[in-house]
């Protein structure tokens, strides 16, 4: 064998030899045992070779690009810490958005790492496995870089100190946790539909982008640098999301109704989860980017509609209940902020009544609803607070069995009536916040009856005791420090102290 003269090779062919070519059909062990999980959902794959690689990165290139990004990112994180970067944010109230991110979203990055590792081992096709493995390790990157970027904030602000413990226990964190547990306990194709397509492709502009833009607008250089650094990873993940949907739809038309149901389900699951983001955008950013309503219109109503027009040729329709968020967009953030205002004594972040400037902004963004429904409520709460009766709701709320959010949403066609739905299953009644959540339950009741609902668990005595005090202790929440109104919090006092010291130094 002589060493041959070198032929030019296309990227696609080379990538194929360096990845696809590595796999083989096992003969000593049956395929069903080697890949036991990729058939039971009913998705029919005729030929994994038809999988289009969403991106063609060999490991040499992956290590090189990613290492360059990591070097730059950690240089910024170091300099941020060295220069007391936390003093540059617009206002300490902003950090409450970071608290929600670190306790609610960063743990999902780890869950994604493990979820993609699982499917990265278990898909029958080599191309799909490699793409999922790369995403797995990217997600590990995201959780770690987030922990490292926000480590500095943890040194100076409250509520960031025990993310993992809280994520497994605290009532509102069961919303993101159950969302991801739901996806990870589904089969591999549903997992990709849930996370790669519905979440990363359809809804990422409504999750990742608002947090990162919020950081940029509010002087949070640590988070915004992380966000920029993760952008090219996210672009890869989105390509995988669209790729897997098209692959399933092209393989067999019997896959279409299965995929359609998953899109319906995960659109609604994702949307309910995003109500936390809606509140963050409209209430928690001292310097606002845009309203939730505007974001929904741009990123779902415009961009999403054209995506589904494109998928129409496969027989895929817009997600069921897609029109409900349009009806809710004028009130979603206000309803959620009100829930947290009620229960901020049991939360690891602070809430507050918006000030007059902020109320004017809210009115300008929500002219049909804000002054009519919500301003009177805030005025009342403010008056109560001024009279020394800051309102904290001492009754635990009923939670939706599916999304686990307290049942505070209103009827799609009536913003003054709370929306209740219920279903019977094996002689028990289960409660829901919406038709979307009820529909999801009715399709898989045996799954959703398992849900670890924080309020039920507290009443059953599984959360440290019967009083709020006991439960907060079990959460490892520092009382009167991490929780309660922002006004009078240690975060606020320190922030004002730092501002005063700086003003003194400047004069």
């Amino acid at each position: 064998m002589a060493v041959n003269k070198k032929k030019r090779m296309g990227i696609k062919e080379r990538y194929s030899l360096l990845t696809r070519g590595l796999g083989w059909d096992t003969t000593y062990q049956p395929e069903e045992k080697v890949y036991p999980y990729d058939k039971y959902e009913g998705i029919i794959i005729h030929d994994w070779d038809e999988w289009e690689d969403p991106f063609r990165l060999t490991m040499d290139a992956y290590w090189k690009f990613q290492a360059e990004k990591e070097r730059k990112l950690y240089a910024v994180i170091d300099s941020f810490a060295q220069n007391n970067g936390h003093l540059g944010i617009t206002d300490a109230r902003y950090i409450n958005a970071i608290k929600i991110f670190l306790t609610g979203v960063s743990p999902l990055e780890y869950a994604a790492a493990r979820g993609f590792t699982h499917v990265g081992r278990h898909f029958g096709g080599v191309g799909a496995r490699v793409a999922c493995q790369m995403q797995a390790i990217d997600e590990l990157r995201h959780v770690q870089t987030q922990l490292h970027s926000m480590s500095h904030y943890n040194k100076y602000f409250d509520g960031l100190h025990n993310r993992g413990h809280m994520h497994d226990r605290v009532w509102y964190l069961s919303v993101p946790k159950s969302f991801f547990d739901d996806a990870m306990t589904a089969g591999p194709f549903e997992f990709l539909t849930a996370i790669s397509f519905s979440f990363e492709y359809v809804l990422t502009n409504l999750l990742f982008v608002p947090f990162m833009s919020g950081a940029a607008f509010n002087g949070d250089m640590a988070t915004v640098t992380f966000g920029f650094s993760a952008q090219s990873d996210e672009a890869r993940h989105m390509t995988l999301g669209l790729g897997v949907i098209k692959f399933m739809l092209e393989q067999d038309e019997r896959n279409v109704p299965i995929v359609q149901h998953w899109i319906d389900k995960w659109f609604w699951r994702g949307y309910r989860f995003l109500s936390l983001v809606a509140m963050m955008m409209d209430y928690m950013l001292p310097k606002r980017i845009m309203s939730w309503k505007e974001a929904w219109e741009i990123y779902f109503e415009d961009a999403g509609t054209s995506l589904f027009e494109d998928l129409g040729r496969y027989g895929i329709k817009l997600p069921k209940f897609h029109d409900i968020p349009a009806k809710e967009k004028d009130r979603l953030s206000h309803e959620v902020w009100s829930i947290f205002y009620n229960y901020t004594h049991a939360a690891a972040f602070h809430t507050w009544v918006p000030n007059e400037d902020e109320m004017q902004w809210l009115d300008s963004k929500y002219p049909d609803t804000f002054n009519k429904y919500y301003r009177p409520r805030y005025d009342h709460w403010q008056a109560e607070k001024d009279a020394g009766n800051r309102f904290y709701n001492q009754t635990l709320p009923m939670l939706c069995q599916t999304c686990q959010i307290p049942m505070g949403f209103t009827e799609p066609d009536d913003p003054t009536t709370i929306c209740f739905r219920s279903s019977e299953h094996n002689g028990e009644t289960y409660h829901f916040c919406s038709d979307g959540c009820k529909n999801i339950f009715d399709h898989e009741p045996e799954k959703y009856v398992q849900a670890w609902l924080p309020v039920h668990q507290i009443y059953q005595g599984n959360c440290g005791g019967a009083s709020v005090e006991d439960v907060l202790e079990w959460y490892k929440l520092n009382k009167s420090v991490d929780n309660m109104d922002y006004d009078g919090s240690p975060d606020q006092k320190l922030w004002e102290q730092w501002q005063a010291d700086r003003a003194k130094a400047a004069s």
Partner: protein, 333 residues
């Protein structure tokens, strides 16, 4: 003489996350490995059981017979988190690229004797499939293992094995002038050649192991000791005597990688064996079982490639090294 720049110092209210401080025994500044690794895997109050296997929890300590009070007592001795891992690999790859250009520019593989060029095609190139098997096994290990400190070494190893399979494939492309024929032939050997079959069977059998810790021992301790000993010691030395030193240059990544890999792989055995006599007995038994199987599976191929005498000497060296590593890990073989 040192220069001191005055900066304004703000007294931090805490030095690290509470869970990290608890593990360190005090609130003191922690490393990035510690902050990025400790307790990042959920442990309690899972909402649903997997629909793909309802006998287990989403994260489940019972997927191995090894019992640990706290899986975070295992810490990667290399202290790799994503950033340090990718930066370390990109440095190794940079050196490897220089070696590829050096060899390619001078057509150095051409000077290998024809007989040994055939052997590269027959013995070395099919290892890309072995490495791919190791990618699957380390993904599986990362998937089913418990605790982030254990799981993350698995996914790093999985990506490493894909990278190594690609380096081996590139050697093939260098030999066949980018036609891919050497790789097709290598796949035929892997799938059909008699001496390769016990190896492929062993790899496929490892794909269906129930216990992820046993899988770690089979893949990362036993099979790898034999493959890396035979390939990057014995075969490397033998081909050097037939003008094959250029291949040694291209093997450099794997040689460095395996020296590093052994650190975390062995340390995992050590930490778990030290936990209890039951763990130690289980680990020792698995090592005995898999090294015997691996040696048997690789013997025909080693003999055919290296000759009986050289193969015997290679296995002797491999076994001596394995004994030493097992002893250091506190095992009783």
């Amino acid at each position: 003489m040192s220069l001191e720049i005055k900066t304004s110092v703000l007294q931090p209210r805490r030095n690290t996350y509470a869970n990290v401080a608890e593990r360190l025994g005090a609130d003191k500044p922690a490393t990035r490995y510690e902050e990025g690794t400790f307790d990042i895997q959920p442990t309690d109050n899972f909402h649903f059981r997997p629909t793909w296997d309802s006998s287990r929890e989403l994260y489940d300590k019972n997927l191995t017979k090894i019992k640990m009070e706290d899986w975070y007592s295992y810490r990667d001795p290399r202290q790799y988190y994503y950033g340090t891992y990718t930066i370390a690999r990109s440095r190794m790859m940079e050196a490897q690229e220089k070696n590829f250009s050096f060899v390619e520019k001078r057509n150095l593989l051409d000077s290998i004797s024809d007989e040994w060029k055939e052997k590269v095609g027959y013995f070395f190139l099919p290892l890309r499939h072995y490495e791919w098997g190791a990618n699957m096994n380390n993904s599986d290990f990362s998937d089913r293992s418990y605790g982030a400190s254990v799981s993350q070494v698995g996914i790093f190893a999985a990506m490493d094995r894909l990278g190594i399979a690609q380096i081996i494939s590139r050697v093939g492309l260098l030999l066949d002038g980018n036609s891919g024929t050497s790789l097709t032939k290598a796949k035929d050997y892997w799938l059909e050649d008699e001496a390769w079959q016990p190896i492929r069977k062993m790899v496929e059998d490892s794909f269906v192991l129930d216990d992820w810790f046993e899988l770690h021992i089979a893949q990362n301790f036993c099979m790898d000791a034999i493959v890396y000993g035979l390939t990057y010691d014995a075969f490397d030395a033998a081909i050097a005597a037939h003008n094959g030193a250029a291949l040694s240059m291209l093997n450099e990544f794997m040689v460095d990688w395996y020296a590093e890999e052994k650190k975390w792989a062995d340390n995992l055995l050590k930490v778990c064996a030290a936990e209890s006599d039951e763990n130690k007995a289980l680990i020792s038994d698995w090592v005995k079982k898999w090294r015997a199987q691996a040696e048997e599976a690789f013997t025909p191929l080693a003999q055919k490639t290296l000759g009986e005498e050289a193969a015997a000497a290679a296995f002797e060296a491999i076994n001596a090294d394995l004994d030493k590593r097992a002893k250091k890990a506190g095992l009783e073989l």
